[in-house]
């Protein structure tokens, strides 16, 4: 099997890509993509650490399952918000959506 570090490096790369997307993108859907990539990087870390450091337990897999279910809920609400905003404003550019700005 691979050494643990390789999984951690892949996870760090995915995390960096997600941060890049969150910083640069103005499109609401792209930001949602970036958040999903971040969550996936975290899940990979959970499972890799459990497999290597506590191979007889499944704690990381349980936590990853919780995390996946939470991500599903987050995606459902996020997409519904995007749809509602699009219907209201005909736009998905987050810098154009200023209705809630103080």
């Amino acid at each position: 099997m691979e050494p643990l570090v390789n999984y951690l490096f892949v996870s760090a790369a995915l995390f960096a890509i997600g941060v890049y997307g969150l910083v640069t993108k103005k499109n609401a859907l792209r930001m949602l993509f970036a958040v999903e990539i971040l969550i996936n990087a975290a899940n990979l870390n959970f499972v890799a650490f459990t497999r290597y450091l506590h191979p007889t337990t499944v704690t990381g897999q349980s936590l990853a399952m919780f995390s996946i279910a939470l991500a599903a809920a987050e995606a459902a609400v996020g997409l519904a918000i995007i749809l509602a905003v699009f219907r209201l404003r005909k736009d998905v550019d987050v810098s154009e959506i200023k209705g809630l700005r103080g």
Binding site: I37, Y52, A72
Partner: protein, 162 residues
Amino acid sequence: MIDVAFALLAIITVISAILALEAKEVVYGAIALSLSFVGIAGFFALLDAVFLAMFQLTVYVGAIAVLILFTVMLVRREQWLKAKEGVHSVLGVLVAIIVALGLGYLVYASTITHVTPSVEQAPFTLIGSQILSEYWFAFITLALVLASAVIGAVVLAKLERD
């Protein structure tokens, strides 16, 4: 040293994650994102978490990716292209490089580099008993969160015909 399957999966996952953010059409981005989810499922399978790999495939590729594709196609107009992309791209790349180098250095400088994989592994049936015994409160809370999220999504996306 490096496994062929691992290297292939790493390349597929990272490149399709980049494509998900950088593809010109958002539809292609969504498809690349689901490919990235498949890559993560492959990593789970490599880590002997086969049940979690199946879970990832059904929930992420089967549900979330399809949901995203639906939304993209419902909303798709010129608006996708009109939304300005990469406004702070230099700053974004800089931040990403700093994050990647920082995390990489943390991993590299730790003692984790000496961890060797063990042959023994836990049966995946433990997941169910652990969720229902040790994490029962989180499980119930998650069920409530999911239910309220679904209700909220339906209310938000509901068409109001006056």
